[in-house]
Symmetry: C2
Subunit: 158 residues, 2 copies
């Protein structure tokens, strides 16, 4: 019998590749003294169309959440429905609103333990949401929140 | 009998003043060749804390909806609940999401005839939404959509 090797599915590989870019963005944000949240926009052929990270501290811009920076960097587009938006953390209402308004088909998140975000709202508007429950993302965010609770609360309007 | 003069309420005056700023931003956007949508953020003492307009065309930034530009220009804040966000047009899901996430107390809109937007979502999350049904806002947007339907559709991800 020809047993199949235990390979991950192509879709899972695509998600992991995109998340790796989002994580590198989060790490860059942390190195700059900002919030460690990163994002990447890709297509189903594995091309990266945009990437970015939270810039609240670096640019004094409260709207520059990771997903907003990423979508800004991806430039003007007429259609997003076949695209995948990855974020190291479950999107808040601002970023979920962006995904909904522009009709992004799939949102892949690193984790939702440190912030439950707006999964329900996105799913109610037809977005496929996948939570990778990524240990590195969980640890990076938990560590940051423990060290900078005030900045974290400011970033989510708490 | 001492009859009261037929003055508008102080709150209505506050909304009208803020909307005048938002309209001037929309007119500036139109003059720059962009979408005529403007926004202003103010407090209950009549101070303007930020203002901005849609910059999709001018900066190639699909996230720079009027409300997002305005909130970016208003800078970092720890609390928005006593503030009023005015927009010439009913916010889309991106901009409604921003208002919800940051806990903006009141959203005043010029009109919702050309775009019904996300009034229900904002109200369901506790935001007071006031629609001024402003003839000038309605005409400005209707005229733009008739002349540039493709750009309008791009801006709302349609």
């Amino acid at each position: 019998m020809n047993s199949q090797p235990d390979n991950p599915s192509p879709v899972k590989e695509l998600f992991d590749q995109l998340m790796a870019v989002a994580i590198s963005e989060a790490e860059q944000g942390l190195a700059e003294g900002g919030l460690p949240i990163g994002s990447a926009l890709g297509d189903r052929q594995g091309r990266i169309l945009g990437q970015g990270h939270n810039l609240r501290v670096q640019q004094g811009d409260p709207m520059a959440h990771a997903e907003i920076s990423c979508l800004r960097n991806a430039g003007r587009r007429s259609n997003y429905d076949q695209l995948i938006l990855a974020s190291t953390l479950m999107p808040c209402c601002l970023c979920a609103g962006a995904a909904i308004q522009f009709g992004i088909g799939t949102v892949v998140v690193g984790e939702s333990r440190n912030f439950s975000g707006e999964r329900g709202l996105m799913e109610s508007r037809g977005i496929c949401v996948v939570d990778l429950n990524h240990a590195g993302c969980i640890e990076m965010m938990a560590s940051f929140i423990a060290r900078h609770p005030q900045l974290w609360n400011e970033d989510i309007g708490r």
